[in-house]
């Protein structure tokens, strides 16, 4: 397992995937704060140039930056994570490296656990890095930042991202190609995005609600328990997806 993890982290390092994710996270962090802070001024200036004056905008707050940041993470960052995860999960079988690995005394369960764990660590690390930068800029430009609420919101987004990544893991076990599991995973992501618009009932306990949770946590609309239910349900689903993937992979023909 240790060697498999070493191998997977080597993949992130040598293919510069961790740099791509890290830079994207940093870029989205900085961009979210800057657009929240200066977009209104830019708009006001543009409207004056066009002769449209006297338009009043409400003053920007750190909550505008929060909203911008988590929207970007849930749309752009998550989709890039899905692409990187699926490339990583499928490449060994898709590109024929699997015989190199599985001719060695490697347990198939360890192989999948390592892929899931290394992906989870990279995503968490890049999200936290981006969060730090966001916090710094937010405090600098808005004189306000709510570290605990922000961390709670970030972790709920992380759990949702991991849920989609593990959907991808199962899809990649079911198909040895790259495109089919990628499309299936993106399809499921869009389905949950649609479900996030449904309010109330059982939908507040499912993973889709984690797309709303960050905004609710940051605005102080929900308490710990309300946020805990969808997180716990999603963590349970992640475990189910992981163990189903391992179960199927252990019986599977590799060639």
């Amino acid at each position: 397992m240790k060697t498999l993890l070493k191998c997977d982290f080597l993949y992130f390092k040598k293919t510069s995937k961790w740099i791509i994710l890290g830079l994207l996270s940093l870029f989205l962090s900085a961009l979210s704060v800057l657009t929240a802070r200066y977009m209104q001024e830019l708009l006001r200036w543009a409207m004056e140039q066009e002769g449209i004056g006297d338009v009043e905008f409400p003053p920007p707050t750190v909550f505008t930056a929060y909203e911008q940041y988590f929207s970007n993470i849930l749309q752009i960052f998550l989709l890039v994570v899905v692409f990187i995860a699926l490339a990583m999960f499928t490449q060994d079988r898709h590109k024929g490296y699997a015989t190199f690995f599985f001719a060695k005394p490697i347990k198939r369960s360890h192989y999948l656990f390592s892929k899931a764990l290394s992906m989870s660590v990279i995503v968490l690390a890049t999200l936290l890095l981006g969060g730090l930068i966001f916090g710094y800029y937010a405090y600098y430009l808005f004189d306000a930042f709510h570290p605990l609420r922000f961390l709670g919101a970030l972790l709920s987004v992380y759990v949702f991202t991991m849920f989609i990544v593990h959907v991808g893991l199962l899809a990649s076990v079911l198909s040895k190609q790259f495109l089919k599991p990628l499309l299936a995973t993106i399809g499921i992501f869009f389905l949950f995005s649609l479900l996030s618009m449904v309010k109330g009932g059982i939908f507040t306990a499912l993973p889709n609600h984690l797309m709303n949770t960050p905004f609710e946590i940051l605005s102080g609309d929900i308490g710990f328990l309300s946020a805990f239910t969808p997180v716990a349900v999603t963590l349970g689903l992640i475990a189910a997806l992981l163990f189903t993937s391992v179960y199927l992979f252990q019986k599977q023909n590799l060639v």
Binding site: Y97, A103, K104, K107, V255
Partner: protein, 304 residues
């Protein structure tokens, strides 16, 4: 003493029965040639042996232990060289070998890596594997397979995708391994098998048709065939030979004239008759059947 014993191995892919009860044994310290046409069932057999594929029926025993699909421990004693090796292209040879050494948990990693890189003549190569030629990838594949000092080296058509130079390099490497380890060598190139194998198993349509050592193979399939060169033109010599008792099947090809003698007459009888006719004999040599001749003959016998 068998190192690998396969009994009644069966595998079907949907409607196609790829293996129909393959049984064979690979003895310790021999090079076993697993020979057959493309699609005969060689790779399927090896893939099942390495637990890349599930079997439908049958039993495989390796080094005294039954091979179980979910138990990977036996692979520590096996080195595997596929027909078209693929490695993560973003790694260099040393990184690949370091990973392989870690997977095999071998001591003295650096020393062993230097040793195998030298053996396959890749010691100075530092560029990424993505830029390697097929021959270089094949040599790296042999290096990673030898790293753990395996009891058995499994090679699945290692020369099939190579040019003549690469093929010769790989065959030379296998020759150097002879007597130091057991090699299970799958190929459809009969010339390769003839050069390096001690024993062969001939597979066709998922069935083993013949399993024997090379010496017995030649002896049992030997026919009294001779290549003859004299002062006469081959066409004139052909007419003379046809008149000699016991001579049958005289043929001429680009290598010269060949005739087959029946069991009741000796080659001296032919030589004496030619000398009596004042024909000067330049050379006469016995023709040994090639593996290709045997292969075709066995397939023909089986289809008949």
């Amino acid at each position: 003493m068998s190192l690998v014993k396969i009994e009644g191995l069966k595998k079907a892919f949907k409607d196609v029965q790829a293996l129909q009860g393959v049984s064979l044994s690979v003895n310790k310290n021999e090079i076993y040639g697993f020979i057959g046409k493309n699609g005969a069932g060689k790779t399927t057999t090896l893939n099942i042996f390495l637990s890349f594929l599930q079997k439908d029926e049958g039993k495989i025993v390796f080094d005294g232990e039954v091979v179980d699909f979910s138990n990977t421990a036996y692979k520590k004693k096996i080195g595997y060289v596929p027909d078209v090796p693929s490695f993560p292209p973003y790694l260099d040879p040393r990184e690949i070998l370091r990973l392989a050494a870690d997977f095999l948990d071998i001591p003295n990693k650096q020393e062993k890596i230097d040793e195998v890189l030298q053996f396959v003549d890749l010691q100075g190569v530092t560029r990424k594997v993505g830029g390697f030629s097929r021959g270089m990838k094949q040599r790296l594949s042999i290096a990673q397979a030898l790293l753990g000092e395996p009891v058995l080296l499994v090679m699945d058509e290692p020369t099939s995708a190579l040019d003549p130079v690469g093929r010769r390099e790989v065959l030379n490497l296998v020759r150097r391994l002879k007597a130091t380890m057991t090699v299970f060598y799958s190929t459809h190139i009969l010339d390769d098998a003839e050069k390096i194998c001690d024993r062969i198993g001939l597979i066709d349509q998922g069935e083993i048709l013949l399993e024997t050592d090379m010496r017995s193979l030649r002896k049992n399939r030997q026919i009294a065939a001779f290549r003859l060169s004299t002062s006469l033109e081959d066409s004139a010599l052909k007419e003379v030979l046809k008149e000699i008792d016991g001579v049958k099947d005289v043929s001429i090809d680009e290598q010269g004239l060949t005739f087959v003698l029946d069991e009741e007459h000796s080659q001296n009888h032919v030589l004496n008759t030619l000398l009596q006719k004042d024909i000067l004999i330049h050379s006469m040599q016995e023709v040994t059947p090639s593996l290709e001749d045997v292969f075709v003959e066995v397939l023909h016998e089986n289809s008949a």
